[in-house]
């Protein structure tokens, strides 16, 4: 029996990724309409991976990940943004930094800015972003966990400028089947997919991408050890147990 192999070099386009692409298509159609895009959802659902993939494959996009230092200093946020926009001789004061960003974006109106982990920032950062998008018409896409939406809703001027949010949902059983097929070449039935999908722990919900990935990896290892050439429901159950062992402690 040929051994099953798990490829790590596959980017699986789930429904969530498709929703991001569609939102970006819509936003790009509306360039010149300064606004916010929102991508939010729980941890481990692939938000950042999807955005990094989109950023890597599309010109005129800028990706920033928020840092703890931004929390206490808006200047650091502005300086990091300047750096990502490719500016040289970055100013050391907020005012000149802000003006440089606005001038740069006037010259490059097709730029789209992605900012990850926004939910840990303060309202002042949102106000700065609002000014940037309002003055330059360049869209800013904010990425964060579920508390991002209430954080934005508190500031009505920001919320009314926000494009329909993309909510990342857990993987569906069909996504598990696609993932198994593309990453490991396994043709999986709905019953096995349902078992792998049910990687429930106390803290995580069904369809957590990281857990499903781990469970599938164990399934491939067990199937190879048993030389079955396919993932049976029993193997899938054992794999799920192994995948969430850490959470049971």
């Amino acid at each position: 029996m040929a051994a099953l192999k798990m490829s790590r070099s596959q980017f699986i386009q789930t429904q969530n990724v498709r929703n991001v692409v569609l939102m970006m298509d819509d936003i790009r159609m509306d360039l010149g309409e300064g606004r916010f895009g929102v991508i939010c959802g729980g941890a481990g659902l692939g938000k950042s991976e999807s955005v990094k993939w989109y950023h890597a494959n599309h010109k005129h996009t800028v990706y920033l990940e928020s840092t703890a230092i931004w929390y206490s200093s808006e200047l650091e946020f502005l300086r990091d943004l300047c750096r990502e926009l490719g500016m040289e001789d970055i100013a050391h004061r907020k005012g000149p930094c802000f003006r440089d960003i606005v001038d740069h974006l006037y010259d490059n109106p097709e730029t789209v800015i992605f900012i990850d982990e926004v939910d840990r920032l303060k309202n002042m950062h949102l106000e700065l972003m609002r000014d940037i998008t309002r003055m330059t018409m360049c869209p800013i896409i904010l990425i964060g966990e579920s508390k991002l939406i209430p954080f934005m809703q508190r500031n009505e001027r920001v919320w009314t400028r926000t494009f329909r949010p993309v909510m990342f949902t857990p993987m569906k059983p069909s996504d598990v089947i696609i993932y198994a097929r593309e990453a490991a070449g396994i043709r999986m039935g709905a019953d096995v997919a349902a078992i792998l999908h049910r990687t429930r722990t106390k803290r995580t919900t069904d369809g957590n991408f990281r857990l499903v990935k781990r469970a599938l990896l164990y399934s491939v290892q067990y199937a190879n050890a048993k030389d079955t050439g396919e993932v049976t429901p029993e193997i899938a159950k054992s794999a799920v147990d192994s995948a969430i062992k850490w959470a049971k402690r």
Partner: protein, 190 residues
């Protein structure tokens, strides 16, 4: 407003399956969350319309290829794509497989590029236990301007020049041969 069924199929074909040479209705059905056992008839019925419009070509029975226009696909070139992904992951480690998966480059290209960055002191290679692939971590951020693999570019330039020379030589040989054939034909006629 809910999307029409045909539009859902189109979105799947132009986004999810854009790099696929061929696909089946089953591939679309799974992406529409229609698990095995659920009816696929609506998809089978929709395909002839796509074929009629020229958006889809039937390669053989049950196997299709998407030809629709309008979706630009991957716009950045592959090196730029790799560089942007590496910088986006500069707070964590990245592997060759990440580059292959996200940028659609070959393993050799990804390895060469990461090695070049490591040699320049931009990345550090982190050894991992036994069979695990190497991880690379950015230790010095060179900024958003693309770092090209100059040695590779030089090699490609030399290859292109050699190819052009070879082609020129071949065409001159072809011309000489044509002249010789014509001369032989003229002698035979006389």
């Amino acid at each position: 407003m809910a999307k029409k069924f045909a539009q859902q199929i189109r979105d799947i074909m132009r986004i999810d399956l854009k790099d696929w040479d061929e696909f089946t209705c089953e591939d679309i059905a799974l992406r529409m969350d229609l698990l095995p056992g659920k009816p696929r008839k609506p998809i089978y019925r929709a395909m002839p319309d796509f074929i009629k419009r020229g958006e889809v070509v039937r390669i053989r029975t049950g196997v299709f290829s998407y030809r629709g226009k309008g979706y630009s696909g991957r716009s950045a070139d592959k090196t730029r794509c790799m560089y942007r992904l590496i910088r986006a992951n500069r707070r964590s480690a990245i592997t060759v497989n990440d580059l292959i998966a996200n940028c659609g480059v070959s393993k050799v290209t990804a390895q060469e590029y990461l090695c070049m960055l490591a040699n320049r002191g931009v990345m550090r290679r982190i050894k991992t236990p036994s069979n695990q692939p190497y991880k690379y971590r950015m230790i010095q951020d060179p900024g958003p301007n693309l770092l090209r693999n100059e040695a590779n570019a030089e090699k490609l330039k030399r290859l292109r020049e050699a190819k052009a020379l070879a082609e020129a030589a071949l065409s001159s040989v072809r011309e000489s041969l044509d002249r010789a054939v014509a001369a032989v034909a003229a002698i035979e006629e006389e």
